[in-house]
Structure formats: C-alpha cells, structure tokens
C-alpha cells in the first residue's frame, strides 16, 4: 500500500510539473524558453533522468547478482557513452540545429529517402528499448501491489501515454530533471541505510570465497509460483510441500515463514489444488526432458551434484547449510568466480566484454531520446558543459546498484532459485530491515523504479511517436516547413522561430496526429512486453545499443567530421551495420539460454567496424555532394555561434 502511494505520489509530481510547465510555456515556444532559461545543470539532470532506465535501476543490480561483478562493465559503458557523445557529437549537433537524427540526415545529406530510413531505425531502436521498460514496470507493479503482469503493463503504458499527451515536449526538461532526483534518492537512501545498518558488507566469504550461496543455518523455504526446473550444484536433500500445508502445519526447516510483507520468497501463494495439477504438469515435463521429477508429497529426497530437477509449484524446503539450487539460465558461481570482473566464460569473457564496451561507448550517441535533449542547450558550448555534468550525475548514480548486487547475493539468495534476480532491488530492503523501515524503503525503491521506467519510456515515446507522426505518416504540407519544432533545422539558439500563430489549425491537426501516433507507438511494445515475459530483458537493451552503435554512430561521426560522406554511403553503411547486428541478436534469441552470453548477443565488435568501413568505401566510390552544400553544413556544425 505504502509502495503504491509512493508510486502515485512520484507520478503525480511529474505530471504536475508537466502540467504547470505547459501553462507556463504555452504563450511562447518552449524551445525558445528552454534555450534561454535552462542551465547546463538542469539539462544534465534532465538527460540523466531520461537516460537512467529500468535497466539501470533494476537491471544492473539484478545482473550483478546473477552473473557476477563482470556485469558492472555495463554501467561503465552506459556512462562512457557520454564521453564519445561529448567529444564528437554534442556541440556540432547542437549547432546544426538538428532536433532528431532524421533531421540531422536532412541537414547534412539533404536526402529525403535517407531520412525515412533513419526514421525507421529510430522506430526500431525506440521499440526495442521501450519493451524492457514496460516489462520492468510490470515486474514492479506485480511485486509491490500484486497486479497481474499483463494488467501492470497495460497500466504502465497508460501512464506513459497520459504523461506524453499531457506534457508533450513542453516542460519536459523540468519533469525529467525531477525524475533524476527521485531516482538518485530512491537508490542511494536505502543503499546507505542498509550499509549503515549492517555495518558494512556482510559475510565476505559468501562474496569472495569458495562458497556457493547456501540455505543458511536454519535452512530455507522458497515458494515457487509455477513449476520450474532447477539445478543442484552440490548433492543435498530437499522436499516440496504444498503452500497450504506449509501455512497450517508449520515446518521445522522453514526460515521465518510468512509474516506479511516479509517472506516474499517465491512469487505468489498458489492454491493447493493448483499446486497439485501443476505437479502433474511438472512430471509430464520431466518425462519429456528426462529430468528427475518431484512432487508435492512433503518427503525428503536426495539429489546428486549437478542434477537438474523439475519442481512443481509449492514450497521448496532445504535443510540447514544446503547449497542452493539455481534456476534455468543461471550458473551457480562460487564467491571467487562471481567476484571476478573479467575472464572465464560468458559475461566475463574478454571478447564479450569488449563488444559490450564498444556497443555502449558508441551506441549512446545514437539513442533517439537522448539527442533530442541536447536541443535545449543554448549553444554548442553549453551542450558540452551539459555533457560533462551528465557524466558526473551518472557516475554518482552507478555507485549504488552494485551495493544491491553485493548485499543481494548474501541476503536474498533465494532469488537464484526462483530466477528473479531482477527483483533484488525491491526485495533487499525488507530482507535487511524486518520492521516498518523495510516496508518504507521498499516503497521508496519501487517509486524510483517506476520513475525510471516512466521517464525513459515517455522520452522514447515522444521520439518514436514524433517520428511516426512527422516522418512516416504522409507530411502535412509537403515541401513547406510545417512550423513549430521542425521549421528551422539550422536556426540557432534564441533566434529559433517561435510557433507561428497563422498555422493554428494545422497545428491542432498535427497534435492530434501526434497523439494517435503515440498510442500506436506504445501498443506495439506493450504487446511485445506481454509476449516477452520470460525473456531476459538485457538482451533487448543490448540490441538497441548495438543497433544504434552500428547505424547512427557511423552516420554521426562521419557526417560531422568527414566532408566526403554521401547519402548512398550512409545508407549502405547503416543497412550493413544494422543487418549484421540484428542478425546476431536474432540468432542469439533463437539459440535461447545457451546463446545469452555469447558474442552473437553482443555483436557490436563486428558490426560497428563493418558499418564504418561500408559507409566510407561506398562514399568514396560515390559522386560527392555539391561542395557548397557540404561547406554550409560543416560551417553550421563547427563554427561557434558568435561567429555568426
């Protein structure tokens, strides 16, 4: 209840700022206002607020717990991406006046067809990035409020559409800046309180030693909401009892059983009848896969090391000191293996790691919702100063997810059994504080996670819906500048033309078209998120970064710094890079769990150089653009504003 209250309060706060900002900004162009009044600090907080997504808030800690400290390269790359953006893109892009990537294509290469291709890529990246956000929101709502997954996604999608339709692009800088501060407080406050309460990191042996996570001194009982297959890394005993039986009879080996709010070990209680039928299904599954079946009979069974067991829904009881089994897709790791930042197989393998760093380092600049934010900087130089602050703000934020990963491995190891490591941020506060403090802190992190999801998803939705409404749907008045945001690709700072009152009527039409597009642009990812329930969400984030790094990064870098880029070269490079990156990831998805941490799922190290090479070679063989056109674009991008 507390958590729902916190989520509602934060969402209402954001909507309130949006609404207040709309009234304030209505009299004049928001871009005009923004470019005059928004300081680099506000802009930096807004960019960070929009950037820190559910993947950062929940995913980094969950992945750290799941795969080990090697997962921490991900936030390093997320942050370093802003260095690349700062060095090569921030100031020239701001000076060009391009508002979106399709705008940039038109400013630099003057090609309408290519603009459409860029729009389609924006759409692909946006959808891929929104899906994990919605899934994260569904997880959060299910966890704190027992909202069914599908209903949670529908609800979250409605909140996002509502906030976009209410706020649009106006005042969004202030809304996003507010979201950053919500997120930083929501992640840092519980982390600091927990560290203080525990007096530092507990039980270093479990973190670093040769041990696998165990059931502890009193044994452990873990609820399984649905039948699942787990692998026991060491020989031990276990039994499965029906949830109802457990509640009434009590259990000697059980650890702190259901105190409301406390033992959310599994997912949700399952009625005994359902558990029984699920047991049948589990046995059938076992005969198919040849794994040892188990049933809800409450008898102790022995398993050997490395044995996979199909468990029915119910409560899994483990004796004191037993080594915990792990869910499918998780590798049991000793503390030493877990803490190794590089080396070995999977996520720590050097090639995977470098590929991930390439994708995030170069992919950030191609994320559609980020570049839009740079337009609110007054000048190119202000854009640079903003980016430095973004690096600082992100660095501060990423100090904290690791705390949840470290503590989670020690204090909520049952997530390894259920496979829900993404929930570690939400579970941990109640595992540390058993009283009302725990519940309050869960409310705080839930509100932060929801803010993370809403801010990123609405930023992306504005970008994708804008692309659909203005680029992909037939243009309102073809060939004529439609006024508003797209009227002046090369206009600068305060001199950007304001909304023309004469275009009032078409503006209303455009607004309606934008709203319809926004609805369409959220329905598709929402359906995908419902379908992708069991999917590891990080692979979708990897996909969008790899796609951005293999298409827009070469386009931006070569377009800004090389006079020889031609439309045909840009097209060939984007298609080659995008196709190779997507093919790798689709193959990884088709390959399932085994491929999850292979190079196929992180193809940037191959696709990015390929895209650069293709773009360069094809441009060299192509007929160059008219020199005057290139010179004018270069001048717009590189000459400081005051040079006229």
């Amino acid at each position: 209840m507390l958590a729902i209250g916190a989520i509602v309060a934060v969402t209402a706060g954001a909507l309130g700022i949006g609404a207040w900002g709309v009234r304030w900004a209505r009299t004049t162009s928001d871009l005009f206002v923004a470019s005059r009044a928004v300081t680099p600090w506000w802009n930096a907080a807004a960019i960070s607020g929009e950037y820190l997504s559910a993947a950062s808030f929940l995913g980094v800690a969950g992945l750290t717990m799941r795969s080990g400290l090697a997962a921490l390269w991900l936030p390093v790359g997320f942050t370093a991406g802003y260095l690349a953006l700062l060095l090569f893109v921030a100031a020239p892009l701001r000076r060009s006046g391009a508002y979106t990537l399709p705008d940039f294509v038109e400013v630099r290469l003057g090609d309408r067809g290519l603009r459409t291709v860029a729009s389609l890529i924006v759409l692909a990246i946006g959808v891929l990035y929104v899906v994990p956000q919605l899934r994260g929101a569904g997880l959060v709502l299910g966890e704190v409020a027992d909202v069914p997954y599908t209903a949670g996604i529908v609800l979250a999608a409605a909140v996002v559409v509502g906030s976009v339709a209410l706020g649009g692009m106006r005042a969004v800088t202030y809304v996003q800046a507010f979201q950053y501060w919500v997120k930083i407080v929501a992640i840092s406050l519980p982390a600091c309180l927990m560290i203080v309460h525990l007096g530092g990191l507990p039980e270093r042996a479990a973190l670093l030693g040769r041990e696998l996570p165990t059931a502890g001194d009193r044994g452990m009982t873990i609820r399984l909401a649905e039948p699942s297959t787990v692998t026991f890394p060491r020989a031990t005993r276990f039994r499965v009892v029906a949830e109802a039986e457990l509640r009434t009879a009590g259990d000697g080996a059980a650890r702190d059983l259901p105190e409301p709010g406390r033992a959310r070990d599994g997912v949700r209680p399952v009625p005994a009848g359902a558990a029984g039928s699920a047991a049948g299904a589990g046995a059938a599954g076992a005969s198919r896969t040849g794994r040892a079946p188990a049933s809800v009979d409450g008898r102790w069974r022995s398993v050997g090391a490395g044995e996979a067991v199909r468990l029915p829904a119910g409560a899994l009881a483990l004796p004191p000191g037993a080594t915990l089994p792990v869910a499918e897709g998780i590798h049991a790791k000793t503390g030493r293996e877990w803490a190794r930042p590089a080396g070995g197989e999977g996520r720590g393998s050097p090639l995977f790691l470098y590929s991930l760093l390439v994708a995030t380092f170069l992919g950030t600049m191609g994320l559609p919702h980020i570049l839009v934010r740079f337009y609110t900087n007054a000048t190119g130089s202000a854009a640079r100063h903003t980016t430095v602050r973004v690096l600082g703000l992100l660095g501060v934020f990423y100090l904290f997810p690791v705390v949840y990963g470290l503590l989670g491995r020690v204090l909520v190891p049952e997530l390894y059994v259920t496979g829900q490591t993404d929930l570690v941020v939400l579970r941990l506060p109640e595992a540390v504080f058993v009283d009302a403090t725990g519940r309050t802190l869960v409310a705080v992190v839930a509100a932060g996670a929801f803010a993370a999801f809403v801010s990123t998803a609405s930023g992306l939705l504005v970008s994708t819906a804008g692309t659909v409404a203005y680029d992909l749907l037939p243009r309102l008045r073809r060939g004529e500048a439609p006024g508003g945001r797209r009227s002046a690709p090369l206009a600068r700072g305060p001199s950007a033309p304001t909304l023309d009152p004469a275009t009032e009527d078409p503006a209303a039409l455009r607004r309606r078209r934008f709203r319809v597009s926004a609805l369409a642009a959220i329905v598709v990812p929402a359906l995908l998120a419902i379908a992708a329930r069991g999917l590891d969400i990080t692979i979708l984030v990897s996909w969008s970064f790899a796609l951005a790094a293999s298409t827009f990064c070469p386009l931006l870098l070569l377009g800004i710094w090389w006079t020889g880029l031609t439309p045909r070269g840009a097209l060939a490079g984007m298609l080659a890079g995008g196709a190779v990156a997507s093919a790798g990831i689709v193959a990884a998805l088709a390959g399932g769990e085994a491929m999850e941490e292979s190079l196929l799922s992180q193809p940037a190290v191959v696709s990015v150089p390929l895209a650069f090479a293709t773009m360069w070679l094809v441009s060299r063989r192509d007929e160059p653009l008219p020199r005057a056109q290139v010179a004018a674009a270069m001048r717009a991008m590189h000459a400081p504003e005051r040079a006229g």
């Binding site: 060095l87 930042p341 130089s381 640079r384």
Partner: protein, 145 residues
C-alpha cells in the same frame, strides 16, 4: 580520413601549425566572409574543424584506452582476489574507478574545446559592420539548399 579528403581540394591547408591552434595562418577572417563562405573563410573553418577533431581524437584515445585497459588489468591481477579496501572488494573498486576519471577527462576536454572556439572567435574580425545573429541563420539555410 577527413585529412586526406580535405587535402585534395583547394584551399590547401596551411603550415605545420595549422592543426593545433589557429595562429600561423592569415591574421583574421571577416565575419562577412564566413557568411559568404569564401575560400578564405573556408580555410579558417577547415582548420577549426581539424583542430577540434584532433583534440577529440586525443581525448577519445585517452578515454577509450582507459576503458580498453581496465579489463586487461582485471585479467592480469587475479591474485588480488581476496584483497579489499575499507571492506570493499577490489573488483568493485576497479569497476568504480572509471567514473571520476571520465569526468576529469571530459572536464579537461571541455576547457580545451572552449579555448579553441575562443581562439577562432578572436580571429573573426569585428570591424565589419556589426551584424545581429538573427539574419545569419536564414542565410545559412539558404546556402544549404
């Protein structure tokens, strides 16, 4: 790559000092020339772009080198497994070091980049008839079309 392409077309690049700052070339360029995109102004703009590109390249090498080196450090030092500083395991410390370094690097870069822009502005002669900023933007749009 931009260097190769640029060298082939007039105006030829200036002396050896051309890439690092803007001094060494002709003393100044008129604002009007920038607007009209004369070859003389083009020379200045090309130098500015190249100076920015080399600065960004150096910074990217530093930042990219840092990122590329960290995994190697992690691979090379498995012996530190059990070490900790103030109770924080060393792999965590290693993976948190990039953040302050990235900020420091970015800050240094921004100072240099702003200095390059200032140096360029100092070369734009102000003795022409003073032009407000506003008409400049439409002018550049026309030039592009």
């Amino acid at each position: 790559m931009s260097g190769r392409r640029a060298r082939r077309r007039p105006p030829r690049r200036g002396g050896p000092g051309a890439a690092d700052g803007l001094p060494g070339g002709p003393p100044a360029v008129a604002r009007r020339e920038l607007d009209e995109a004369t070859p003389h102004a083009q020379l200045f703009l090309d130098r500015l772009r190249r100076a920015h590109l080399s600065l960004a390249g150096v910074a990217a090498l530093a930042g990219g080198g840092l990122l590329a080196a960290l995994p190697l450090v992690a691979l090379a030092l498995p012996a530190l497994d059990d070490d900790a500083w103030l109770g924080v395991p060393w792999p965590v410390l290693l993976l948190l070091t990039p953040y302050p370094l990235l900020v420091a690097l970015a800050w240094l870069y921004v100072r240099r980049a702003d200095a390059l822009d200032e140096a360029f502005l100092a070369l734009v002669a102000e003795d022409e008839e003073p032009e407000p900023d506003a008409p400049a933007a439409p002018g550049s749009r026309d030039a592009r079309r």
